[in-house]
Amino acid sequence: MSRLRRIFTLDSLIVPLVAILLGLIVGAVVMLLGGYNPFEAYSALIKRVVGNPYDFGETIRQITPLIFTGLAVAFAFRSGMFNIGADGQVLIGMTSATAVSLSMSGVSSSIVVPVSVIAGGVAGGLWAAIAGYLKAKRGINEVITTIMLNWTALYLSNYVIRHFFLLKGQNRSEDIGASAALTFLSGIFNNARVHWGIVIALLAALFFYVYLWKTKQGYEMRAVGFNQNAAEYAGMNVGRNVVKAMFISGVFAGLAGAFEVLGVFHYQSVFAASPGYGFDGIAVALLGMNHPFGVVLAAILYGVLTYGSAGMSFAAGVPPELIKIIIGSIIFFIAAQGIVRFVLKPFYLKRKKEKVL
């Protein structure tokens, strides 16, 4: 009971709520200035998300990779590292899953999918572990290596698809027969591309929590994350933990890629530029305060805003540029809680003074 009460302390309830409200207000002001009706736009956003089963399913599809990449960034962060390279790890995960599933054509989907997903996850993990290894052995800052590995991953993926799996005359791989779609749900969601990734993503969040806070390896990783010197002093192998943390982080990102290929597209495009999953993941991890359950909720918020934004454009005629400003301001206020506290300060002080007198 006392635990429940702690959860619902006033402060922690009000601040994020006000943050979202402030973001919506700023967005509304921007829309009014642009001559659009904010109420119409916001209700269009919500309607686009929950208006019909198809869109609801597609929203889940939008949220799924955000959970994975959010977890990837958050996990590395908990271990004291900033993984900017989730984007490259997603690509490597995609490519490996594509390569494996295309090489196994003719085999039953129920075998191909798990094998490809595991291949994607492991490949993403190994890719991230390169940055971890360089940090552990050579002290090279992981921010730099992961950024550079993003480019390497982009060109490597494109090379592999172009040279081994290209569908003739197209800018993408051949079709992947195997599917990770949640077929028994596709009826409910009117053929929206809901896939097993959402289940695995939620399990990944649970794994993240249990591993980091309940196991001895997680304890070690957190110690390294908070204070490498103390961890080293206590006899922990800092280097090994760094590599391991990056590996796990990369596995999350790699899974995102594998499921995008197997569950959503069923082929892999040759990407002109970085697809951007990893960078959304950074925003989601920050919003979710690097906690697995926070990441899940932040991914939901982020996914709802991005998917719903098309509704604002469609039903209220708000142009995409303005929508980006609105989404940006909502996220800004949630991330910048200091501003919210500043806005709330007069109310708090008033209360305190009453108490003193």
């Binding site: 309940k214 001895k216 070690e220 103390a230 961890a231 002093y233 206590a234 003074k353």
Partner: protein, 512 residues
């Protein structure tokens, strides 16, 4: 002086934090032109009280009067407007800026759109003259001494028109010479009509400079006395709540087999400069060996070599007869080493872990704390409960983050953890740095307790008094080598000083 009007009156101030009452109905009166010392152990509530006066915290109960008028101080700017200035223990200065730029930061005098440096500089020079601060307005902070930086902090408050100055542990960072200068400046300030609150736990300084002392313990005012009518022993007793012995009582050592043996240990740093230069050292069971030396003569490297944090280039290190040189740190710890590190924030604790988690920092992976790869939180918590109780670590709960404990209690937590491992060798590096008398006494008792149980204890300290009082044998380190070994009863400060400065070598193992 005692009849002067009060400038600050704190009335019945109470401040609660989750799980702890930091200030419990504290009242304090600061009179015009006095130096009022606020004495208390680490964590007694001194800083909380001053942060309330400076507007950083709001009191839960009680009121504040300045010059007889009730005021609400809800932020530091308000405090500054009311003439209150705070000289923080950790300076808040911008290193590449000049003295003047730092002083005017945030309230720059302007001429049109430009900052009027000329008049600001003149103003700073005038203040410097008036209070005898001798600060060059145009020097950059990074180029001036720590003592000088502190005077810049003082000047910052004066520039903002402060009449009431709060000094938070001002001597902690100063050399003895700088302390003398600071005392002179404080006297000058009160002579010019300022009033000063001095937060400290150093009895010597209080006796020397303050007019009155208010002692607080565990958030409550114990007493306010005139300095002339008291003495250090009385103050210490009031602060700690019991009699404090400044002299350490200990029996003659019962010396056993050698536990730690270093033979011709050599280590170079990254630039290839020799930092340990053929070091020989032996510590036996049942004795405390103190390493005396000036900072930077290889003490840190010696510890890192023994604990396995840094590789040695040649030589041998044996623990209980087993070679441990260049083994992984965990192997060495498992061979029976405990270590109270020099820097408790950097090495001793994971500050963002709870006390409970910190208590198993080296043992978390072993049974009973871990089973099948999972931590058994119940056992971990139980272990912490026991250690907190046995070693009197004052914390609101074992779930509290190590960061929010006072320095003394953090150190107690580390000692509890290290001693509980029941080591053969205990290394204590600067174990009392920054602690108050009560905590220092506790630490020393623990070290001697370990020695009496037949453990080998290696003590590294820059405080000569500590080395002389606690050690059974003293080894002097100079430029990465032990240059002399003496028994404390057969030596004096002067002889040690000469050895530490490299002017004299003496003894060796034959001293016994």
């Amino acid at each position: 002086m005692s009849t002067a009007a009060p400038v600050v009156e704190l009335k019945q101030i109470t401040k609660r934090f989750p799980g702890i009452v930091a200030n419990d109905s504290i009242s304090l009166t600061l009179r015009k032109g006095e130096i009022h010392a606020l004495l208390g152990e680490n964590g007694a509530g001194k800083s909380t009280l001053m942060n309330i006066l400076f507007g950083l915290y709001q009191p839960d109960e009680g009121s504040i009067e300045i010059d007889g008028k009730p005021v609400t101080i809800d932020n530091p700017n308000k405090a500054i407007k009311l003439g209150i200035g705070m000289v923080h223990q950790h300076f808040k200065l911008v290193q590449p800026f000049t003295v003047t730029e730092n002083i005017i930061l945030g309230m720059e005098p302007t001429k049109g759109l430009n900052i009027d440096y000329k008049s600001a500089s003149a103003e700073v020079a005038k203040l410097s003259e008036q209070y005898g601060l001798h600060v060059n307005p145009n020097s950059k902070i990074q180029d001036i001494s720590v003592g000088m930086q502190q005077r810049v902090e003082i000047m910052k408050t004066l520039f903002r028109g402060a009449d009431i100055l709060i000094f938070d542990e001002p001597t902690a960072v100063l050399t003895p010479q700088e302390i003398v200068e600071l005392m002179a400046i404080m006297r000058r300030l009160v002579a010019e009509g300022k009033s000063i609150i001095l937060i400290t736990h150093k009895l010597k300084e209080i006796m020397e400079i303050s007019d009155r002392v208010t002692i607080i313990r565990r958030g409550k005012v114990i007493d306010t006395v005139d300095t002339d009518n008291t003495n250090p022993n009385e103050l210490a007793e009031k602060m700690v709540g019991r009699g404090v012995t400044f002299k350490i009582e200990k029996d003659a050592p019962v010396i056993g087999q050698p536990v730690l043996q270093l033979n011709q240990v050599k280590m170079n740093d990254k630039q290839g400069v020799s930092v340990l230069n053929g070091l020989d050292l032996e510590v036996k069971a049942g004795e405390i060996v103190g390493i005396a030396g000036v900072d930077g003569n290889g003490q840190s490297e010696l510890i890192e070599a023994i604990t396995g944090l840094r590789k040695i280039d040649s030589g041998s290190i044996k623990l209980s007869g087993k070679e441990i040189a260049n083994l992984p740190a965990r192997k060495i710890i498992e061979s029976g080493l405990s270590h109270i590190p020099e820097d408790r924030h950097k090495h001793g604790l994971v500050l963002d872990f709870s006390i409970s988690e910190n208590m198993v920092l080296e043992t978390y992976y072993k049974s009973p704390f871990s089973k099948n790869g999972f931590l058994d939180r119940r056992v971990v918590d139980k272990n912490a409960e026991k250690l907190v109780q046995d070693f009197d670590v004052r914390t609101p709960s074992i779930e509290t983050k190590a960061r929010s404990l006072s320095g003394g209690n953090q150190q107690k937590a580390i000692i509890a953890r290290e001693i509980d491992k029941n080591p053969d060798l205990l290394i204590a590096a600067q174990p009392t740095r920054g602690l108050d008398v009560g905590a220092i006494e506790f630490v020393h008792k623990q070290l001697i307790g370990q020695r009496d149980q037949g453990k080998a204890v290696l003590l590294i300290s820059f405080e000569l008094d500590e080395i002389m009082n606690v050690s059974d044998r003293i080894a002097v380190i100079y430029e990465g080598r032990i240059v002399g070994e003496v028994l404390p009863q057969n030596t004096n400060d002067q002889e040690l000083g000469l050895m530490m400065a490299g002017f004299m070598e003496k003894g060796g193992q034959s001293d016994e």
